[in-house]
């Protein structure tokens, strides 16, 4: 079963290499409220590193955003695709507009989505190295030796990243190759999601005549772009408050060690407003973005908001509501989301990390006063995060709602080592493998 995973992921990695060689790749963030597409152009000016096989596709770091487009997505709920046609149209719209802006055709797309019930697993394994120094083969062997838990049928591994290596009694090694030791231990973080969500996304992308060159969890990529380097190093949590779901990812030593998602987001706040005030969703969304908040003050009682209507009934169309009432509707839902996030962080053991920094990002994090509310629920060290400024990014897509899109661009340029980036160890190849024969031949002659 692991071999299948290897094949699929390696095929995707191969596709990504091709895309980087061609120099143009599209980033697609399929969210519940919007679908964003960025077109990246890699200049590839710096030469690739000496080990081109594995590693972070070194040397392909210089990229520039040449096209960006956003469209409303209709067929996505809770970060999962529920209406294939609608999602396909949304992807088509976004890709076409971004292509038009970039004035270049893109064939390869790297996608991210937020839902599909991610589940984190920590794996570890220990082997005895046969030689003096740790070789590539040893790393492949120790990764292969990891006991893969029974994560259930109908789920797929999305990320499997070696987080930490330990050699004898020295821990915290990021790259043990070439070092001398006897027993090699690896800690690995594996993230599984529902296979159906991936399949739907793959199908939608394929229907748009695009090749999928990579998939990432949006909680992970939002963490890459919204957190600064020392937060990633010392340990911090990123809360990506999207439209339909809220992603939680914990980073430590620049590796993701935990990810989860809460199936609530800004759309639910809008839904509450819509139901509570009896207005259409579009009006509720407008009221939320213009007048929303989570802290009511005395003046908010006198701040009356026209909520309007188009029925023709004068009484109904001239309704007003005070801002305090609006806040009264929004706040419980936001609190509920944050409580849920708190529960996920507690379940992950976030309080045992040395640093308790929490970064709020995503479209729903723009509610005024959210940081105060969040610090009351999540702890004192809360800040609002915006995505990193990357080259050529238009002003319109620098807001926190684009944290995962920008993070995906960074991920495309600097992918972390995944399990499948290493060679599969010899003994786990299928018996009839031709490569095994070649390898045997090479080693014995």
């Amino acid at each position: 079963m692991m071999a299948d995973l290897y094949q699929a992921q390696r095929a995707m990695r191969q596709m990504r290499k091709q895309a980087l060689q061609r120099g143009v790749v599209a980033i697609l963030d399929v969210g519940s409220s919007k679908t964003a597409c960025l077109v990246l152009r890699f200049d590839g000016s710096t030469p690739s590193g000496e080990d081109g096989e594995i590693g972070s596709l070194a040397g392909q770091s210089g990229f520039r955003v040449v096209g960006a487009a956003t469209t409303r997505s209709r067929g996505v709920q809770f970060g999962e695709i529920t209406a294939m046609q609608e999602t396909e149209r949304a992807i088509r719209t976004a890709v076409q507009a971004a292509q038009k802006m970039a004035n270049v055709r893109v064939d390869h797309v790297i996608a991210s989505f937020s839902g599909a019930r991610p589940r984190s697993y920590g794996l570890d394994a220990q082997i005895e190295t046969n030689g003096q120094t740790v070789s590539e083969q040893d790393i492949a062997r120790v990764l292969a030796a990891c006991e893969v838990p029974e994560y259930g049928a109908g789920r797929e591994v999305l990320h499997a990243q070696p987080v930490n290596f330990a050699l004898d009694h020295r821990s915290g090694l990021s790259d043990p190759r070439g070092q001398i030791g006897q027993s090699l231990t690896v800690d690995m973080h594996m993230l599984t999601v529902e296979a159906a969500a991936i399949q739907n996304l793959v199908h939608c992308v394929k229907r748009c005549d695009l090749e999928l060159a990579g998939i990432a969890s949006s909680a992970y990529v939002a963490g890459i772009s919204a957190m600064v380097e020392d937060e990633q190093e010392l340990g911090a949590a990123c809360v990506d408050m999207g439209g339909g779901s809220t992603g939680v990812s914990i980073f430590m030593k620049k590796h993701m060690i935990y990810a989860d998602s809460v199936r609530m987001g800004g759309d639910h706040v809008t839904g509450d407003i819509s139901m509570g005030l009896g207005v259409p969703m579009a009006t509720a969304e407008r009221i939320k973005t213009f007048y929303g908040g989570v802290h009511a003050t005395g003046i908010d009682d006198r701040d009356m908001i026209e909520i309007g209507g188009e029925t023709g009934d004068w009484e109904l169309d001239r309704r007003t509501v005070s801002r305090a009432e609006l806040i009264g509707i929004m706040r419980p839902r936001v609190e509920e989301i944050l409580e849920e996030v708190r529960a996920r962080l507690d379940a992950a053991g976030f309080e045992y990390l040395p640093s308790q920094q929490i970064v709020l990002t995503g479209g729903a994090s723009q509610i005024p006063g959210l940081d105060l509310l969040a610090s009351r629920i999540l702890g004192q060290q809360v800040r609002l995060g915006r995505p990193l400024r990357v080259h050529g990014l238009p002003q319109a897509v620098t807001g926190p709602a684009f944290a995962s899109a920008v993070g995906l661009a960074l991920f495309a340029a600097h992918p972390q080592d995944e399990w499948w980036d290493f060679e599969m160890p010899v003994d786990s190849y299928p018996a009839r493998s031709l490569r095994r024969a070649v390898r045997w031949f090479r080693e014995n002659w």
């Binding site: 469209t71 088509r92 038009k100 055709r105 005549d209």
Partner: protein
């Protein structure tokens, strides 16, 4: 499936999406940006130019434009001025450079004109340029005749390099110039000049120089006297003769030839009459012994 009251869909249709992607393909873009305009322009031009009359008309129009620029008064040349040449030479130049003035300076090939002018015998060097004001100026340096060379074919004038200047009707046309003769004489004009310069004391008596056997000179004086000069250093030999002549008045006497061909042994030949009279005198003095 389809919910009630759908909003208008901004999404492109599959067809327009595909067409747009196809148009963004690099090859297609290149074709559309370069290939199609080129083909259209090429096609239109070839269709227009397919007709013979149009082609001619086009060429005529181009020609007319070119001419209208070239024949502006600023570019016209109205006359030819020849400097540094005598009347006959300028006559010759005007003959060999037949130009219909006024003529555009674009139509003048100055290098060719210069070559033609320099090709004339009496012209040593020439420079041709167009002076402001529409004057074609030909600066000619004429060859100066230094010698008269008598050959079997006629009498020629030679300059100091031995180059032909012109023919003479008669020697008496240029009595001021010295005369040389003989085959190959024109190749050693410098030497001849040196010899003649050395013969300056005999100036009144010199008739000319004769090249003998294409290798050496004879200086011919009047009264049928000849001085045979050697191949090498003829000037010094002549100077020796002149010194002797000064001392003994040798050339005043009845000597037919002074042979200086062998430097160690200058030889005199007396004239026939002198010889006979010398014999008579000898007979008288020796009494016929």
């Amino acid at each position: 499936m389809r919910p009630l009251g759908r909003a208008s869909d901004p999404a492109p249709s599959r067809l327009s999406y595909r067409i747009q992607r196809w148009l963004l393909t690099p090859g297609v873009r290149l074709f559309l940006r370069a290939g199609v305009p080129f083909a259209v322009v090429f096609g239109l031009v070839s269709a227009y130019m397919a007709d013979e009359d149009r082609r001619d008309g086009f060429n005529l129009a181009i020609d007319g434009i070119v001419r209208s620029v070239q024949e502006r008064p600023e570019f016209m040349v109205n006359m030819m001025a020849i400097d540094g040449a005598g009347r006959s030479v300028s006559q010759d130049i005007r003959e060999v450079v037949p130009l219909d003035f006024p003529i555009s300076s674009f139509d003048l090939d100055l290098a060719a004109i210069r070559d033609t002018v320099v090709g004339l015998d009496p012209v040593k060097d020439a420079s041709v340029r167009i002076r402001p004001g529409g004057v074609l100026e030909v600066d000619v340096t004429e060859r100066v005749p230094f010698l008269v060379w008598r050959t079997r074919d006629g009498i020629e004038l030679l300059d100091e390099t031995g180059a032909h200047v012109s023919f003479l009707e008669a020697r008496s046309d240029r009595p001021d110039l010295p005369l040389i003769a003989g085959d190959g004489a024109e190749l050693h004009v410098q030497q001849a000049m040196a010899v003649l310069a050395a013969a300056e004391p005999l100036r009144d008596r010199v008739r000319g120089l004769v090249r003998v056997g294409q290798r050496r000179w004879d200086l011919v004086l009047d009264r049928d006297q000849k001085i045979l000069l050697p191949e090498d250093n003829p000037v010094q030999a002549l100077e020796r003769v002149l010194t002797l002549s000064d001392a003994y008045e040798m050339l005043e006497r009845d000597v037919a030839q002074v042979d200086m061909r062998l430097g160690q042994r200058p030889t005199l030949r007396m004239s026939q009459a002198a010889l006979e009279s010398w014999w008579q005198i000898k007979q008288l003095t020796t009494g016929g012994q």
